[in-house]
């Protein structure tokens, strides 16, 4: 889960990391107590806000609230602006970068700092990688002070070591305490009053949500308002059921019992001149109910002319997949042609059950894909 800026900053602030005085602004009353000028920042879960004109400066309350009202009418990359953070402007002497994340290749936490903050760090990494200082953190050892001192020296921050040390240690604590996969402060501003977080990005591991239930519920509640607009019926249904669902542009609905074969089916569909309308992946432990639900989700899209089911199960059992398909047809009727490729554990039983209902299956995936694309063209 990606936190909105104000949520990330609240978390940092709870750990004693300095942030500017700020408030979520809806009316002029909210702005009382802030010193002007203020920075007005749209709260959306995507980057590139500055370029989109969604970060503005206001010198007095009336102007501020007019800007807030204007911003609340916009969306950025499909996300409607539902909240605006008003933040006291601080005097910036220098902008730094600081992040703790998981290095997936090394399987270790990685701490990254740079004296060149405030810009897209991937661009810095591409163009002048020497400006980024990196240190892996060893599990069972964690963040030791020599690493903090090393980082401070290499970004020329030795004169502010105490403040830097506090922030780095607290960022690492947040990373560990909340199962974060990224805690990033960019920019971390050098100001006359020490180091201050101007923007922050925090990603939490959804797989660990059960360990932080109250926090996740609260964050999700706050984010509901800024959810992507224009969600389709199929997207909503998939979200309610926690099914992997990817909307695409074509007319073939694709369901698979594996991520790799699902992507392969989508690729092959395009290779033979077709295009998938959407994609549902059942996951390894799916049963009849998951298949029924996936069929409901995929069929909820009006663009789907044919449903292509690509099954080659190890853990998924074909007897159960067949039951799911038959249950769907019993409940909803056959509104569109189904093309089924069935292979794997208990396939004899699955195929026999489908055959009893007059449904034939394909053995070969590429043949099934061609059949589905042809049917979609004809309908």
């Amino acid at each position: 889960m990606r936190l909105l800026e104000f949520q990330a900053k609240r978390l940092l602030s709870e750990y004693g990391i300095p942030i500017p005085k700020s408030v979520l602004a809806k009316s002029q009353d909210d702005l009382e107590g802030l010193s002007f000028p203020v920075v007005l920042k749209a709260q959306v879960p995507v980057g590139g806000r500055g370029k989109a004109g969604a970060i503005r400066i206001a010198t007095q309350p009336k102007e501020a609230i007019a800007t807030v009202e204007e911003l609340l009418n916009y969306s950025i990359k499909g996300y409607p602006i539902q909240a605006v953070l008003a933040e006291e402007q601080v005097e910036i002497k220098q902008e730094l970068y600081l992040a703790v994340l998981i290095d997936k290749l090394a399987c270790l936490p990685l701490i990254m700092v740079s004296a060149t903050g405030g810009v897209d760090i991937e661009e810095v990494a591409r163009e002048s990688p020497e400006k980024i200082v990196k240190k892996h953190l060893k599990p069972f050892v964690g963040l030791q002070d020599y690493i903090v001192r090393y980082l401070a020296k290499h970004i020329g921050l030795e004169d502010q070591l105490d403040g830097f040390r506090r922030i780095v240690n607290q960022v690492y604590s947040i990373f560990c305490d909340y199962d974060a996969t990224l805690v990033e402060i960019n920019p971390l501003a050098v100001t006359p009053n020490g180091l201050v977080t101007l923007d922050a990005k925090v990603l939490l591991d959804d797989k660990a949500a059960y360990r932080h239930e109250d926090l996740f519920v609260k964050l999700q509640e706050e984010q509901k308002k800024s959810a992507k607009s224009g969600k389709t019926g199929a997207e909503q249904l998939a979200e309610e059921r926690g099914i992997t669902y990817v909307p695409l542009d074509g007319n073939v609905g694709v369901i698979s019992d594996g991520a790799g074969t699902g992507m392969l089916t989508l690729d092959l569909t395009q290779d033979v001149g077709g295009q998938a309308a959407n994609f549902c992946e059942l996951g390894g432990l799916a049963g009849a109910e998951s298949m029924l639900q996936a069929l409901e989700v995929v069929s909820a899209s009006p663009h789907v002319k044919v449903v292509l089911i690509s099954l080659i199960g190890g853990l998924t059992r074909m007897d159960e997949m067949a039951d799911g398909i038959l249950n769907y047809l019993e409940q909803h009727g056959k509104s569109r042609p189904l093309v089924i490729r069935m292979c794997g554990t208990k396939e004899e039983v699955g195929k026999a059950r489908l055959r009893t209902a007059g449904i034939e299956t394909f053995e070969d995936l590429e043949t099934a894909v061609r059949a589905a694309v042809k049917l979609a063209e004809e309908s």
Binding site: I102, K104, L105, C107, L108, P109, E122, K138, P139, F140, C176, D179, T181, D205, K207, A208, Y210, R211, T244, V246, L248, S256, D257, G258, A259, G260, T261, G262, M263, L264, L266, D267, L268, T269, Q270, D271, A276, F279, E281, G283, G284, L285, I312, G313, G314, L315, C343, G344, T345, E347, L365, E366
Partner: protein, 291 residues
Amino acid sequence: MAILIDKNSRVLVQGITGQVGSFQTKVMKEYGTEIVAGVTPGKGGMKVHEIPVYDFVEEALQSHEVDAAISFVPARLAKDAALEAIDGGIRFLVVTTEGIPDQDMLTIINYAASKGITVLGPDTPGLISPGRCKLGVHPNRMFTEGRVGVLSKSGALSYEVCRVLTENGIGQSTVVGIGGGPLWGLSQQAVLKMFQDDPETEVIVLLGEVGGTTEQAAAAFIERYMDKPVVSLIVGRTAPKGAQMGHAGAIIEGEEGMAESKIKTLRSAGSLIARSPSEIPEIIKTIWSVR
């Protein structure tokens, strides 16, 4: 000889009394895998398909020699189970579980590494040496004994490809599922190295997918160390940016995560490229015919 396991491997199953663990234990046993013990906390003293069940790994190890363990333990308990197996000193551990928190995986992978123990997974179907041993959940009949080593992030994609290979009379030495990520105990390079060193493997098939940069790391390894031919198939060519394609690791975040970038890097590292499963046997037959 196959890699990582052979027909003499003695196996312990963690989570043997669960629905999946029990069913897959039966299938593995029928395949010829020597399963000597199972562990489920609180179920010690039971038997599952004639196999004795213990409360703790340590208790199982008092009565049995164990070379490898496979875990079907649910995500929330998976770290505990894996650390218990590592503490017991079992040399090779297969973690089939999907959805283990990343920080739990960091602990498991790094603790195992500190003891010189190999972890395959998580979110893996395991591995199979056709005709000899299976430590996983593969549908048996798609595999046949031979000289092609296969490694894959996706279990289902490896079944798909091996089914096509088998139909074309091309058998496999070992088929290794490294898992759906985003963290991997055994990397693609590590498995490539094992295949390079395995005298029975002549050609390697690498099945990769969009997201992350592991295929780029694998390409660098191929360029530097591999002299056996590698055939790569990367799926997700049509995957949109930013969409989670079913695996935790299969999400395109940057240019390097895109299929075309991986394909280009692998090709320039000397790997042959297939765009569909049916091209793979054709490429392998060409390799064998020119030799």
